[in-house]
Every structure is written in C-alpha cells, then in structure tokens.
C-alpha cells in the first residue's frame, strides 16, 4: 500500500520553483507531467540526457556500411556493367558515384532507427493507453507525482511540504 500525491500547478515557472523547493527538502519526485517540455526541470528531478542521439549515429553508420557493401556487391563483384566504357571493376573509381545513395541510405537508417527506438523506449505505440493522471496535463496544467514508497518521509510530513508550494490542486490516492 502506498499513497500517490498528484500536485497540480497552473504554470510552468511555478512548477519549476515548487519542484526545486520539494527536492531541497529531500523529497523524491517520481514524475512530472506537462503539456510541453518544461526547460530546466530535468536536472531538478534527476533526469539524465537521453542517449538517443548516439543510437541514431550507430544506425546511420550501419546504413553507411550496408549501402557501401551492397553497392560493391551489385556493381563491382556480382555483375559489373559497362556504362559508357567507364571502369566497372574498380570500387575506388566508382565511389564518387556511390556517395549519394550511401548518404541517403545512412539518413534513412539513422532517422528511422532512432524514431523506432524512441517510440519503443517511451512505450508510446499505437493503441497504448494514456497514463497521464489528469486530462488537463495535456492542455495547461502541470503535475508533479510523488509517492510514499520512494520517500522516507511519512505521509503527513510529505503533505505538509507539498502544501507549502504554490499549488493549484492536490489529489491523494491509495495505490496497491
């Protein structure tokens, strides 16, 4: 049995101030729900920078290698074609003509690989249920979620600390 506090704020700046106050008191904030990215909230609640950009680079490099390997096989190794008498057996001399496709294929793999990873890591996929505590958090409200099981403070103290912030609304739920 744990208690979940959903503290609602009506402004992003108020939310930021409140989050800083709560964290300063040693309270752990589980989650923040907001209609748009609130800049500056990530370090306060301990969210590290995502590594998705690195995955994109890796997918793009996979694309680059696949494209070069593929074109070497199609055009040089398997069936060299005589196109206007240009050298067909040499990879090195054909490389300039292969650059556009290599580039396009790298972008294709980098973009789609990252987008798919992003959706999977978020768990946002077609048909997934919405998990925001209140429908207003996709409009103009900002919610901080605090639970008793991740905090050493007892319920009463938590509630008192929360109520000291400039909150708009507070809902407390029991969750098993």
């Amino acid at each position: 049995m744990k208690k979940v506090f959903h503290v609602m704020y009506d402004d992003d700046d108020t939310l930021l101030v409140a989050a800083r106050e709560l964290v300063a008191k040693g309270i752990h904030i589980n989650e923040v729900y907001s209609p748009f990215p609130v800049h500056g909230i990530d370090p306060v609640i301990g969210i590290k920078r995502t590594r998705l950009a690195i995955t994109s680079f890796m997918y793009a490099m996979t694309g680059t290698s696949l494209a070069i390997l593929g074109m070497w096989y199609f055009m040089i190794s398997d069936w060299p074609m005589n196109i206007g008498g240009k050298p067909s057996f040499s990879m090195l001399e054909n490389i300039p003509a292969f650059i556009p496709v290599t580039f396009e294929f790298s972008v294709l793999c980098g973009a789609h690989g990252m987008a798919i990873t992003y959706l999977l890591r978020n768990g946002t996929l077609p048909g997934m249920p919405a998990t925001n505590p209140d429908p207003r958090t996709t409009d103009d409200m900002f919610v901080i979620e605090i639970t008793t099981d991740t905090n050493s403070m007892d319920e009463k103290k938590l509630e008192a600390a929360i109520k000291k912030t400039a909150l708009f609304e507070l809902s407390i739920k029991d969750v098993k």
């Binding site: 969210i47 920078r49 593929g70 069936w79 396009e104 294709l108 978020n122 946002t124 207003r136 996709t138």
Partner: protein, 458 residues
C-alpha cells in the same frame, strides 16, 4: 526563461493563455465542418476523382495518350514531378533548417508546411511512377535479387539516386511530422468527448502522457532529426537536378544545376506555403498565430531564393555564350526566341521580376499582394521546369530529329487531377489534424507572446 528584445514584434498576438492556444487550434476539429470547407472539399474531390480516372486511363491505354513523341520524351510528366518535389521542399526546410537556426516563427507554420510537403511528395511520386508506362513493374527500381535476369539496378545513374533520395525524403519527413504530431494528438484525445473520435485520437496519440523523460527524448529526437533532415533537403533537389545535369543534352548539361534547383525548390515551396497559410489562417481564425510578421519572414526567404534563381538564369545565359559551345548557345537562343519563347518569358517575369517587388515593405507586409505573388511564383516555377525540360529536348544536335510537344487532354487532366488530390488531402488534414504545433507554440508564449512581452517591459 528566454528573454526577447522588446522591439521585436511578438509572434503570438492578443492575450493568449496556454488554454487559449489549445482551444484555438482544436476548434476546427471539435466543431462542425464550416460550409466553405464542405464546398472546397467537394470541388477538390471531384477534380481528384477526375485525375484518378485520367491516370487509370493512361495506365490502361499506355503513355501514348500523352503528347510525348520520339524527340520530346519527357514533358509535362517530369515537369510536374519536379514542380511537386520542389514544392515539397519548404516543409522540411521550415521544420528542420529553421529549427537548427532557432527561428521561433517557424512554430506557427511548420505543422501545415510539413503536411504540404508530404502531400506534395506523394503527388510528385505519382509522375515517375506512371511515366514508366508499365507501373506494375515499378519494383524494378529497387535492387532486387537476380532471378529477374542478370541485372542489378545501375547505382551510377542519378535516376536511381533519385529513387533513394525521394523515398528517404518522403519517409523521413513523414516520421518527423508524425513524431511532432503525437503530443498534439494526445491533447485532442483528452479534449474529445464523443467515444469514437476519442478512441481514434487515442490510437493516433500512441498513449502519449507528457512525462518529463519523454519530453526530454522528444526534444533530442526533434533536434537530431532536424540535423539529419537538413542535408537531406539539400541533397534531394540536388539529385533531382542531376537527372538533367549528367545528361549531355545542351541546356541540361550544366554544373550550376544543384544550387539553382535547390533555391528554386525553396522558392516555390515557400510560395505554396504562403498560398495555403493565407487561406488557412482566415478560414480557421488563426490570425493571432500566423500574422503579418510571419508572412513577412516568409517573403524575405522568397526574395533571397528568388534572387538566387534569377542570378542562376542569367549565369546560364551568360555561360552559354561565354563557353563558345555552339549547341549550348543555340539551346539558349532557342529558349528565348524559339517556339517556346512565351514559356521562357513567363518564367522570367514570374520568377525574376515578381519576387523583387517584395523589397518594398508595403508589398512584403500586404496579405493580398503576397497571396497574388505567391500564385504568380508557383506559375513561374512550373514554367521554369517546362522550359528546362521541353525546350532542351525539342531541338538537340540533329535538326532532322527536331520536333515539338503539344500537351493532350490527358496531360492536362492528370496535372489538374494532382492539384485536386493534393487539395483534398490538405483539406482533410486541416479538418482532422492540429494545423498548428500547439504544444510547441506554448513554449514560446512567454518569450514571444504579446501580453507576456508587455509585462516584461514593466
């Protein structure tokens, strides 16, 4: 919070709150369809159906029903293809390049410009597809295993590069657009009351809940996608231009083509964005979000790219003489004085002279003038491609094989049809999708909103 200079015009007019932004943007989705919208979609879908019928007729009969002949093997089809791809360049330029430059005004127009991009690229893809004649063999453009014969596709050919460029551009633009749409669909989902629309938007929103970590990833993904989409935008039209530039046809065989085509594409793309935005802001009462300043910014892009295009035309003309190649110089003399000189002078007037009018602040900030000039530019850019393709082909090295091209009803029907399909898709988009990136707009409300800016001064 970011501060912005007080003398800079606000991007969001009026005393808007976060809630007002949501309400203003989703009003066309939740409310009943306006009469004007119903009339427009009826007209455009009739044209679209006519276009589809013409395409089916073409596929059933063969491309002989076009006015093509042995001399002019590419005409309206490839003209339309290049024109549509060019239009499709503005969306990703706005969302990717302007994102990298941190231009906040892009947020009002990026969503619908990207939608325009996607629909324009779909229209563009129709033309090389049906131009193949036997469209059911279209899979031959992909490098498939060799059981079809001992041939792979030719990776040295710009036509194949184009297959990769256009398909990458289309799919990456689609992903970029959709990733931005997910949080906005979530906003609509939480506002919908009727169960069926709610369910549909719930599926479309992928269960987005606006968690801090998700927003953190969202911003990173947008930035990286913008970073890799930027060179993509430039590469796509460069490759389209190489379809021509690597051929040895006089009038095509020029190294100036890639930058000239890219700026032409951005030029026509922005003109199309202007045409659509000016109608949309009025129809959906979005005047507070897309206002004169946005129009002015876009007109500045039009002057810059239009001037680059103008310089490119003159350079081409000069080089054809300066090169001393008689075929090359004839190709250009024939352009401005031959049988297609009307098309050439239309192109020159519409693309070189008309955008220069935007140097006048009055014209640049006038919505009516912008609307008219944006259509003029689009007509001019269509003629540019027509001039490049048809006048170069119809008279080449051998005078005995010279010929002329006259469009048939099918040529015209398919082009008009794609305009119909495009506007049908765009109208459906404006009715069922959030036309402004509403959640992104909220992030600039405090730094660029009118009422907040006034407060900052005090």
């Amino acid at each position: 919070m970011q501060k912005e200079s007080a003398i800079r015009e606000p991007l969001i007019l009026g005393h808007k709150t976060y809630k007002d932004i949501t309400d203003d943007v989703i009003r066309p989705i939740t409310g009943p369809a306006p009469l004007g919208w119903k009339i427009m979609i009826t007209i455009s879908s009739i044209i679209a159906i006519y276009g589809v019928a013409q395409i089916l007729y073409l596929i059933g009969t063969g491309i002989g029903v076009w006015g093509l002949n042995k001399t002019v093997g590419w005409a309206w089809d490839i003209t339309n293809f290049v024109w549509w791809v060019g239009i499709g360049h503005a969306g990703t330029l706005i969302s990717a390049v302007l994102l990298l430059f941190r231009q906040k005004w892009r947020m009002a127009i990026n969503r619908s410009a990207e939608a325009m991009t996607i629909f324009a690229v779909i229209m563009a893809a129709v033309f090389p597809g049906i131009h193949m004649g036997r469209i059911w063999l279209a899979y031959f453009v992909f490098p498939l295993p060799n059981q079809f014969g001992s041939l792979w596709v030719n990776f040295n050919s710009p036509l194949l590069w184009d297959v990769f460029a256009i398909s990458t551009y289309f799919s990456v633009s689609l992903v970029f657009w959709y990733i931005g749409l997910i949080p906005d669909f979530a906003t609509i989902r939480d506002r919908m009351i009727k169960p069926i629309p709610k369910k549909i938007y719930s599926i479309l929103s992928f269960g987005w809940s606006g968690r801090a970590k998700h927003w953190n990833r969202f911003e990173e993904v947008s930035l990286v996608l913008a970073g890799i989409a930027t060179p993509l935008v430039f590469s796509v039209h460069s490759i389209v231009s190489m379809d021509f530039a690597t051929a040895i046809i006089p009038g095509w065989h020029t190294t100036i083509f890639p930058p000239y085509f890219v700026s032409g594409a951005v030029f026509s793309g922005f003109a199309m964005v202007q045409t659509l935005m000016l109608i949309m802001r009025k129809a959906f009462k979005l005047e507070s979000y897309i206002h004169v300043k946005h129009v002015e910014y876009m007109n500045i892009v039009i002057i810059v790219t239009g001037s680059i295009v103008g310089v490119a035309y003159l350079t081409e003309l000069f080089i054809s003489w300066y090169s001393g190649v008689e075929y090359e110089s004839y190709a250009f003399i024939n352009r401005f004085s031959g049988p297609y000189s009307m098309a050439y002078w239309t192109m020159m007037t519409c693309n070189v002279i008309s955008p220069q009018l935007f140097w006048f602040k009055k014209i640049r900030r006038s919505l009516v003038a912008t609307f008219i000039l944006s259509i003029v530019v689009n007509i001019g850019m269509w003629f540019e491609r027509y001039v490049i393709i048809v006048t170069s082909l119809h008279r080449d090295y051998l005078p005995s094989s010279w010929g002329e091209f006259i469009p048939t009803a099918t040529d015209i029907g398919i082009f008009v049809g794609t305009l119909g399909i495009f506007s049908t898709l765009f109208l459906l988009f404006t009715r069922y999708f959030p036309v402004l990136a509403l959640n992104e707009l909220k992030t600039i409300l405090k730094s660029s909103g009118e009422s907040y800016k006034n407060k900052q001064d005090k």
